[in-house]
């Protein structure tokens, strides 16, 4: 991959916004990184097209003040990230600069900071021993990063098999120290440190097998876990018009989902939302470890006012970090908000290059780019038999709330779960505004997953979920009839059917993300509530008039809601349940 050419140099020949034309004096490769010298400032740029001796480069920063004949240095490699201990809890920009190391309130052009700490000592424990034969991604040893076992691996770039010649003893080392010497198939010795680099646009393939996902990833959000479950290693996307709660939902997922590590790629979104993560995550307790949430989180922040070209890089940077941690046998949840901004960055550049546009002026290869990206997620069996996974959930911000626009359409083809946020539900404050019926999870139909549900939740779980969906569908159908025929134009039983669906909606589908208790419901609790709601469905009631029906069910909903708001199995919880039971007795058909 790396050739030791004398590095190519160039000179600026033209400038249109952040597209710069560079006259080069030697070979350049597509996607190669170069630095444009603007006085003392070095502007990072990526080659996106080459014609003759002219390279078209997209500059990751503002080109203000750049002049013709300014010099350019090429680096000989693509955009790479630095992989090693110290990534956790960091706030990076889209190019993996450590934002906290930058000086001043405002971002300075051309300021590049080290993503890791060169001097910090890590407690290294060897796993491999001399004589062991490993491939790329094979575990040499581990250090404790926060509380996580961070594996030090044979670099992903290495081809073939490597024999360990020597490895250091347990002890404290910096990331620059040599921790092992390996011999390649030609007998050449190579010194290894704890750090390696990888080009972000290429997928890391250091695993044995990528099976179909077969396990549930718990998120604590009822409408997802119960009605539209996502699998560990699965992909999902959340399209929704603005104001429907995309971000609140993503934050809820990142706080609650059952993952070893969370990577949040804030891609072209609001800075204050990232600040919310910066502020809250270091304070929030991680329910599963009792530590702070930030200890298992890494944030890639490229907010909407940060340079557009780096927006595209930011999602790839995030995915590459996820792949690195997956190779250590960890469960990663990767959230990208929003992939539409990334697509828009592609569009701006394609527009400046005067390429023939596709639909809505997006580049023609948009669907291919998106599906290629989603395909990097997944559950994997590593070469040493361990498992690791990346579950990827992206948000999409469809222009005008129109789900037929190119980014939504392309993503729909790539992602397996679809969480449709509905304006109507948001308007009537039915949060999370995930439409339980429009949304779907292809995983719910996987026999592997059905079996998992029967074993780990309830032997009849798949049937119960189907019934729950049916109840919602019937309720919606009846609602339409009542709308057309009027309250007294339909039999009283129709009202009963409608309200049984409303109970499902209010108690299972709706959830208060801002309530300390209700925000996250463990699976056990979800099962308990679903059973109660299904009990109501199976109960026959006697009503004289439709007014009685709505008054009664509102009381039922109110009691069950109090249960959702109470600590699980607390006194208050059982009190509400008792109240609920007496309500049922009151109206039950004898």
């Amino acid at each position: 991959m790396e050739k030791t050419n004398k590095m190519t140099k160039g000179k600026v020949a033209g400038i249109i916004a952040n597209l710069v034309f560079v006259e080069v004096d030697g070979p350049v490769q597509q996607n190669e990184i170069c630095y444009i010298n603007l006085g003392e400032t070095r502007l990072m740029a990526e080659v996106i097209k080459v014609i003759g001796t002219q390279a078209y480069v997209q500059v990751f920063e503002s080109t203000r003040g750049l002049k013709v004949d300014d010099t350019v240095d090429f680096t000989g490699h693509m955009l790479e990230v630095t992989l090693g201990p110290g990534i956790l809890s960091k706030n990076f920009d889209g190019l993996q600069n450590d934002l906290d190391k930058m000086e001043g309130v405002f971002l300075k052009r051309g300021e590049h900071t080290n993503p890791l700490e060169d001097d910090k000592k890590w407690e290294f424990k060897p796993i491999a021993k001399p004589g062991d034969v490993l491939e790329a991604g094979g575990w040499l040893g581990e250090v404790k990063e926060n509380w996580m076992p961070h594996k030090i691996m044979i670099p992903f770039k290495f081809d073939g098999k490597y024999t360990i010649k020597s490895i250091v003893d347990e002890g404290n080392y910096t990331i620059k120290d040599t921790i092992a010497v390996v011999t390649d198939e030609n007998g050449k010795d190579i010194d290894l440190t704890m750090v390696q680099k990888w080009p972000v646009k290429l997928a890391v393939k250091a695993y044995k097998e990528k099976p179909r996902p077969f396990k549930l990833l718990e998120t604590g959000v009822r409408v997802i876990d119960t009605l539209n479950p996502i699998a560990e290693g699965g992909t999902g996307f959340i399209p929704g018009p603005f104001g429907t709660g995309k971000t609140v939902l993503q934050h809820a997922l990142s706080k609650q989902a059952e993952a070893d590590m969370i990577i949040v790629a804030a891609c072209g979104e609001r800075a204050n939302e990232v600040v919310e993560i910066f502020t809250e995550f270091p304070e929030l307790d991680d329910p599963r470890t009792g530590r702070k949430l930030m200890e298992r989180t890494t944030i890639i922040a490229n907010t909407s006012n940060m340079p557009v070209a780096a927006r595209e890089a930011s999602v790839y940077t995030a995915m590459t970090l996820a792949e690195y941690y997956r190779a250590m046998g960890l469960k990663i949840l990767l959230l990208a908000d929003s992939t539409s901004r990334w697509a828009q960055a592609l569009r701006e550049m394609s527009n400046r290059m005067e390429e023939l546009p596709g639909q809505d002026a997006f580049p023609m290869d948009l669907p291919a780019i998106i599906s290629n990206f989603y395909s990097r997620a997944g559950f994997t069996y590593l070469n040493n038999g361990s498992t690791g996974s990346i579950t990827f959930i992206g948000t999409v911000s469809p222009a005008g709330g129109n789900l037929k626009e190119p980014v939504t359409e392309s993503t729909k083809k790539a992602a397996r779960c679809f969480y449709a946020l509905s304006q109507q539900r948001a308007d009537s404050k039915r949060y999370p505004a995930i439409d339980p019926l429009e949304s779907y999870s292809k995983y719910a139909e996987y026999p592997e997953l059905e079996e998992y549900f029967r074993d780990s939740i309830d032997p009849e779980w798949p049937e119960k979920i189907r019934l729950a969906r049916d109840i919602l569908i019937r309720s919606r159908e009846v609602a339409e009839q009542i709308n057309i025929l009027g309250d007294d134009g339909v039999p009283v039983e129709y009202h009963e059917r409608f309200w049984k669906g409303e109970v499902m909606d209010f108690i299972i589908c709706q959830q208060d993300a801002f309530d300390k208790v209700d925000c996250s419901a463990p699976l056990e609790r979800q099962k308990y509530m679903l059973n109660l709601v299904l009990d109501i469905y199976h109960t026959d009631f006697t009503f004289e008039s439709f007014e009685e029906v709505s008054t009664y069910f509102k009381k039922v909903i109110n009691t069950l809601k109090q249960m959702n708001y109470s600590v699980y199995e607390s006194e208050k919880y059982y009190e509400s349940e008792k109240e609920f039971n007496s309500l049922i007795e009151e109206r039950k058909t004898a």
């Binding site: 020949a13 033209g14 400038i15 249109i16 034309f21 080109t63 203000r64 003040g65 750049l66 002049k67 013709v68 706030n91 934002l99 906290d100 309130v105 405002f106 971002l107 052009r109 018009p241 603005f242 104001g243 971000t247 072209g268 609001r270 800075a271 204050n272 990232v274 600040v275 910066f278 502020t279 922040a301 907010t303 909407s304 006012n305 901004r341 828009q344 569009r347 400046r352 005067e354 546009p357 002026a361 911000s397 222009a399 005008g400 129109n402 308007d427 009537s428 404050k429 009027g486 309250d487 007294d488 134009g489 801002f514 439709f546 007014e547 008054t551 509102k554 909903i557 109110n558 708001y565």
Partner: protein, 441 residues
Amino acid sequence: METKAFQKIYTKITQITKATCSLKATGVGYEEMAIVNGRLAQVVKIMGDEVTLQIFSGTEGVPTNAEVVFLGRPPVLKVSDELSGRFFNAYGEPIDGGPEIEGEERQIGGPSVNPVRRKQPSEFIPTGIAGIDLNNALVTGQKIPFFADPDQPFNQVMANVALRADADKIILGGMGLTNDDYLYYKSVFDNAGALDRIISFVNTTENPPVERILVPDMALTAAEYFAVDKKQKVLVLLTDMTLYADALSIVSNRMDQIPSKDSMPGSLYSDLAKIYEKAVQFPDGGSITIIAVTTLSGGDITHAIPDNTGYITEGQLFLRKDTDIGKVIVDPFRSLSRLKQLVIGKKTRGDHPQVMNAAVRLYADAANAKTKLENGFDLTDYDERALRFAKDYSDKLLAIDVNIKVDQMLSTSWNLFAEHFEPAEVGIKQEFVDQYWPKNN
């Protein structure tokens, strides 16, 4: 914008379009300012030795032998305390007859704030308008537009909000403001005796449209001076951002760029984000809050301008005429303040979030009842009560002429609940019902 001695003067323009001209020149920096026969222009493209300039006031009457001088710097604004109380045009030149500003030259459209150096906004901005404070509380460091049809009184509401909000500086960026509206703002600020803390950058409909592009950057550069250097609370009013976006599309069209949705430039999202994201809360107390106006055509929010805006701003405020009470109200369904969660129930009373949600839900029930009524169906007793509640709620709380404190808004809400409903129908957490449900009812 004087020329300096020893500057090279070019006199050979090779190409002129409606908004741009090109000439051969060397040593020119990207985004550098130039003067073409006395008109301000900016470098928008460099190809080899050919430089393309965008002339802000248009190219009408520009000859091929026009004198072109490059100023060697991007557009700047001179900042100092002298800005207070003054009126400027889009170039930052005084238009109120007063003296030139002495101060440090700052480049406009400067770099973004490092997100890790921001502080989470947490200071409530009370406005007295219940449709805003109760349902859509504003917070310092927030950016929020009014989405309004041109016939709605958004300028009045915005002026009210600006004067009641407790801000050290109010900066008005007027784009395509009619002369009447400009004079309206001037007189309102004057009458309130607030002129000394107000700074205005105004491009009226009489000025060339492309000049508007500079207005938000000018206003925000001044805002950053006061928020960063002086640690002040700055409120920036931008009206009308739709006309700003229209100016962008004129430029991109004349530069032969491929238009995307609604003939807007493909970079519209990034262009708007660069402006709105200047809203910030700094840790040391300074802040920039942006309240903007985006006019809609026939209430259509799917148009590219309001659509992109909605994805950038932290919510939006909708005004609507409620024919039942004959007043303009802040629409509780379509309005949203994304940052309200940071202050309601925290900086205000604990029952605030639940009261807000319950009232809006009951108001939605009333809207359903209304549909039923319009379709000729009988109403239930509950429907009737919901309708009566909605009318009172609209009149006593949502109308824009309301001016009361938040605690009063909450007690008004509880009274309305008790007047029309049973506690179970309201669906608020029991502890709040026990505490606040009016006892004598």
